[in-house]
Structure formats: C-alpha cells, structure tokens
C-alpha cells in the first residue's frame, strides 16, 4: 500500500545519504526527530508504529531537503506519505480534522474578522466562491466514487 505513495528506489538512496540533516529545521532543533529511522522502517515494511508517532507531524514542509537533494526527493515525501496513511486510519491531531471539516464545509480555513475590519475602515470583503466550491466538491466526490467502482470491476 505504501509503495503507491513512495518511490522505493529513491528512498533507498535517501536512507543512505542524510545530507539534509544539516538543513532540516526539525532535525536541527527538535529532539528525537530522525527521518532516516522512519525511512529505514518503511523500507523494511515495518512502519506501522510510526503512524502513531508525533514525529511524522513535525516535518515543517519547508522544502529545504527537497532543494538540497540530488534526487529532488527528500525526507518530506516520506513524511507526507506517513501522514496520509495515518489520516486514512483516523490517527491524526484533532486540529487537522477540525481544519479539514471547516474546509469542506466553507471552502476556507477562516472567515474574515468583520468587526475588526470595520474598525480599521477596510472595505467589505468580496464574496467567496463557497457555493461554486461545494458544487465542485460534489462533482469531485462523484468522480472518485465512479473511479473506485470501475477499479473494483476491473479486479
């Protein structure tokens, strides 16, 4: 399942290299954050335990590793895949779920602060694309369901 999300050939080199330890802010400043330990376990097929770890949420997605990496790959991809798998299993920080719920309900992650805007003399904010977004979301969900059905039929 995890092979869907990660290129193991690139990841193997990643496990041996580790050049990005020198630029990764989390590696430098967060105790116990060690992406190669995660990557080695992924390669061994023994990554389940990491899905519960707070470390997989500590990648800041600053893309420093991506820019430095000679494969243009980096730790970030491994962490993103782990987060995805964790989320699919329902293991995630509560805040992530709250953000997601708000996004699929309103198309935004926060509504304009109207009182403060008025005090500052800011103009009325332009209408958001909420309704159109919700329509698009329904179309997207429908397509995804169709694809899934087709996939199952082919199997």
């Amino acid at each position: 399942m995890i092979e869907e999300h990660l290129d193991f050939n690139l990841l193997r080199k990643c496990a041996d290299c580790g050049a990005c330890y020198n630029v990764c802010p989390s590696c430098l400043y967060i105790e116990g954050y060690d992406p190669r330990a995660v990557i080695k376990d992924i390669l061994k097929g023994d990554f389940e335990k990491w899905l519960h770890s707070e470390h997989i949420w500590q990648c800041l997605e600053c893309h420093q590793c991506l820019e430095l990496c000679y494969q243009h790959y980096g730790f970030e991809n491994a962490m993103t895949a782990m987060r995805l798998l964790a989320t699919k299993k329902g293991i995630h920080p509560a805040q992530v779920k709250r953000g997601w719920d708000m996004f699929v309900k309103t198309g935004r992650l926060g509504e304009p602060a109207m009182g403060q805007r008025k005090r500052l003399g800011l103009p009325e904010p332009k209408k958001s694309g909420k309704e159109e977004f919700l329509k698009l979301l329904a179309i997207y969900k429908e397509r995804k369901a169709q694809e899934k059905n087709r996939g199952e039929a082919e199997l």
Binding site: P25, G99, F103
Partner: protein
C-alpha cells in the same frame, strides 16, 4: 504593468486584517493597477488538504487560478503559503496534460477553465521584479538609514523553486535588496533561512512551535537588530503572537515584527496607525522612536552645517 488581482488567502482577512490594511495602503499609495476578485476560496493549504486528498488540493487551486485566468489578470499574494501552493499546482498541471484535462472536465461543469496563463507572484519578489528600484525609491520620503533589520524570508516565498522560480531557493537575495533600497541594513545571521516553525501550531504541538520560535528570537536578541521584517501571515503569527505569549511567561526578546508593507508604508510617509502597527502584539514603539531620533539628529546636523556655511566655514 499588467493588471493584477490580490489573493488574500484565509489567514490575513481572518486573523490579521491590519496586515490587509497595510498592503492595501501601500498598493494604492504606489498607484499600482490592482483589484479585488470575487470567488476565491482557500488556496488550499498544503499541509492540511494535500496530505489528506491530493486530487481535491489540485482541483481547488486550479479553480482559484482559473478565476484570474479568465479575466486576463496576474495574481499577487502577500501570503507565502498561498503563492507556493498555487504555483505548485499550476506547475503540476503544466507538466501533466492528462491531469489538466481531467481537472478542466470537472471545472467545466461549474463554468470555469484552467489555462495557467496568469503569472503568480509573491508580493516581495513582485516588488523587486515588477515595481522595481526606480518606482520604489521615488516613493520614499524618509528612508531607514542607520537601522538594522533581520529579514525572515519565509520558506514558501521561494520554495519549491521548480514551481516558483523567483529567487535562489537556498540563498535568496531579493528581500535583502528591497531593504537596501529602503536605506536599511539587512544583517546576516546564522538562522536567517531557518523555517519559523509555525506549522507545529497547526498539528497540536504548541510547545515545540514555541521552541522553534526561540531559535531565531534568541539569536536576534544576541546580535541586536531594530526589527524583524517578513511577509507571511504564518511567520507573523509565530514571531509576533507567539513571542508575545512567551514574554507573558517571563521570557524577554523585544523584537518588533514588521510586515514588508509596514516598512515600505512608513518610508512612504504613512502613519503607524494607517498601517495598523498599533495592532501588533509586540510593541513597535522603540523601533519608531529610534527612527525618529536618527532623523532628528540628521536635522540638527544639517542645521549646524548651514550655520557654519553662513559663517563661511569650508563645509
């Protein structure tokens, strides 16, 4: 200059309307051809949406870009997260025609089409590349000679490079250049390009977020700067709000945090209130006082020089 839409994103209008005011004031003051657009949604945020559903992330971003595409506008954002996400999505669709067709077949059902014609810019490189030194320097009434600034780029202003292509991703220069155009000194420091760490606050790891904020604040306190300058609402939250929280707990840093447009606006002659500076959690009074003092000293110098001149001295 091509007309552009400003993409405010979610965080600035929701949490920091005073930043919106600062950006609006400066854009209008410079007489730039910009407008607000109807119909935008969240960019959407990468760490949250992309981690859960990549397809929806791309589709939502493509829809936002389609809005400016259709109107023949470029897009400029004062938020690094928004611009990085939108540019990454645009880049992905440009190299994957099948995906582009798929996305457009869904957008068609709501009457939109993604072409990717619109240029996507972050406000800082936009001011550097498109507004340019001449226009900026012509707009300045009072520069920042004698003031020391710590530029904090914010990761997503120039990364990922393959999507944004607007500055060196590991050794950016444009923000520093803008500071020098404003007459200030952009100091070099060890942790200059280190991520602010605010992302940790979005995954329920507040103490670790504070730990990351300390890294930079401690260094800046030790080398001594007049202010930190940045142009990202997330970074602003980390260094203004979180610094304030730590000061309440007894730590002391005292580093004022300015948005790029705050600095430019002050130089253009706008008052701190017009730029919403009185709403920052960390007081900027000390910074403003020093600036006033430097200018007052210059006035005195000038007066003395004139008096000597009248007396026939060789000045």
């Amino acid at each position: 200059m091509k007309e552009f839409a400003v993409f405010w994103g979610c965080t600035i209008p929701a949490r920091f309307p005073f930043i919106e005011k600062s950006v609006r004031t400066v854009l209008n003051g410079m007489g730039l051809p910009w407008r607000d657009c109807e119909g935008f949604t969240c960019c959407p945020e990468k760490s949250l949406i992309n981690n859960i559903d990549h397809g929806l992330w791309v589709l939502t971003g493509a829809r936002n870009i389609a809005i400016v595409d259709e109107q023949g506008l470029d897009l400029v954002s004062p938020c690094t997260g928004c611009i990085s996400n939108l540019a990454t999505i645009k880049g992905e669709l440009h190299v994957d025609h099948r995906k582009k067709e798929e996305v457009n077949s869904m957008l068609k059902e709501v009457g939109r089409k993604f072409t990717g014609r619109a240029g996507l810019n972050h406000l800082v490189p936009f001011f550097h590349d498109k507004v340019g030194a001449f226009r900026i320097k012509s707009a300045i009434k009072k520069d920042f000679r004698g003031m020391r600034f710590a530029v904090h780029y914010g990761c997503h202003m120039m990364r990922p490079y393959h999507a944004l292509k607007n500055d060196d991703p590991l050794e950016p220069k444009k923000f520093d250049t803008l500071i020098s155009w404003l007459g200030g000194e952009s100091v070099n420091y060890m942790t200059k390009l280190t991520c602010c760490g605010q992302g940790l606050d979005r995954v329920d790891q507040h103490p670790t977020a504070l730990q990351m904020a300390r890294v930079k604040l401690k260094e800046l306190k030790s080398i001594g700067v007049d202010a930190m300058v940045l142009c990202c609402p997330s970074c602003f939250l980390q260094f203004d709000n979180n610094q304030f929280l730590m000061e309440k707990e007894g730590e002391s840093y005292g580093i004022p945090v300015l948005y790029f447009t705050d600095l430019l606006g002050l130089a253009m002659g706008y008052s701190p209130e017009e730029l919403g500076l009185n709403q920052h959690r960390i007081s900027v009074d000390g910074f403003l006082e020093k600036w006033e003092r430097l200018w007052a000293a210059r006035d005195t110098e000038k007066k003395i020089a004139e008096e000597f001149k009248e007396e026939g001295a060789f000045i």
